[in-house]
Symmetry: C2
Subunit: 222 residues, 2 copies
């Protein structure tokens, strides 16, 4: 049996999430390119891999998965070396609850605001030739500011290095792909300067070898 396969390259934020987890646990993997622009991902084969026609999908022998957060958890559960190394912290109920809570905050508050800005400023212009809609971007920036207010208060009050406590976890890692794109591919990186604890947290995240390595493959080519 060869290495596990990730369908979709790291330039896709949700594929980058999966690869960052694979790097964290030190598992070899093969990246299978999906020609998104040619809509190959909506064709029959990738549709069998991901019925929603999205990136990524994942294969580990007979196991086929889609939904990046579910794939990531599968990888982390299978390969965590110790309770201390486990990014999900599932052997400690209270720590696991904190990891889950901030993972859900990312999914339902942080990601929706971030993703709208990224799509409007980068993806649609590249793919559809559009110009960013200032109203949509401004509304999302305002929404993101309200979310970052909560993060800033949490990180300064908790005096923790990371979101779920004094340990790097899946909750932190989930913020990586879209934050990286906002920081490097949009004109809105300076937003984080208004949130010193959030910015320091982000800089701690980017010290992780796994995230450094994946980010080198995430550059958006115009």
């Amino acid at each position: 049996m060869g290495p596990v396969k990730v369908f979709g390259s790291a330039v896709f934020a949700n594929a980058a999430r999966v690869m960052a987890c694979l790097e964290e646990v030190g598992v070899e993997y093969e990246v299978v390119e999906v020609d998104y622009m040619a809509k190959e991902h909506k064709g029959f084969k990738p549709l069998a891999r991901n019925p929603f026609g999205q990136i990524p999908a994942f294969q580990d022998g007979d196991i086929m998965l889609f939904e990046s957060r579910a794939i990531a958890k599968y990888v982390l559960r299978k390969h965590a070396k110790s309770a201390q190394d486990d990014l999900l912290r599932e052997s400690n109920r209270e720590e696991a609850a904190m990891v889950d809570m901030w993972t859900e905050v990312e999914a339902h508050h942080y990601f929706p605001a971030m993703a709208t800005i990224f799509y409007e400023c980068v993806v649609y212009p590249a793919r559809l030739g559009t110009v960013p809609d200032k109203k949509i971007v401004d509304e999302s920036l305002e929404r993101l500011r309200k979310v970052l207010d909560v993060y800033e208060a949490h990180l300064s009050k908790a005096k923790s290095m990371f979101l779920a406590g004094d340990f790097f976890s899946f909750a932190d890692l989930n913020h990586f792909p879209f934050t990286f794109h906002i920081m490097t591919a949009t004109p809105h990186a300076s937003l984080f300067d208004e949130y010193p604890h959030v910015k320091a947290w982000w800089e701690r995240l980017m010290e992780r070898p796994s995230l450094k390595k994946i980010s080198a493959h995430m550059e958006i080519k115009p």
Copy 2:
């Protein structure tokens, strides 16, 4: 130490999710009413419980949580009686991956379409006196149809009783609150008649004593 507390009543879909899990594991709980219309939930005290000013929040002794999916997992992990009863199936890596995958599908595909219809048809008219915007509702129904196409194919192909396999899981349960509202409080219940396997699955869900019990407290009062 008294029973655990859920802040927000079952009429709020995300509070209903938490209560359904508490019923599943047979844990006593106290419901603390939050006067949403009076914006109490945006006031100082509930803000300390849920920094996003949303419902629900949850308390188990010293542990305070928000984000309904994270609360639900905490409850299920703490009180699952056996591996067979565990709605998360975390003792079986492959089953857990299937539970996670369909839980994420609910969160990122099913819920966004469902919630938009519910808010447009029920919540905004009740709270703001608006009339449902036909264009928004129609777009969400179209989006929901595409999602239900995937569910119908999955449930008919897999020949499974439930989404993650032949066992009721957290993935199924997550669909309960918003589907119940769409089925009982909007004019769009008939949409499910087009999807016989999905409808049969929904009817199986509604046979669960936990969901029957909570649904009796979910009626939207005009």
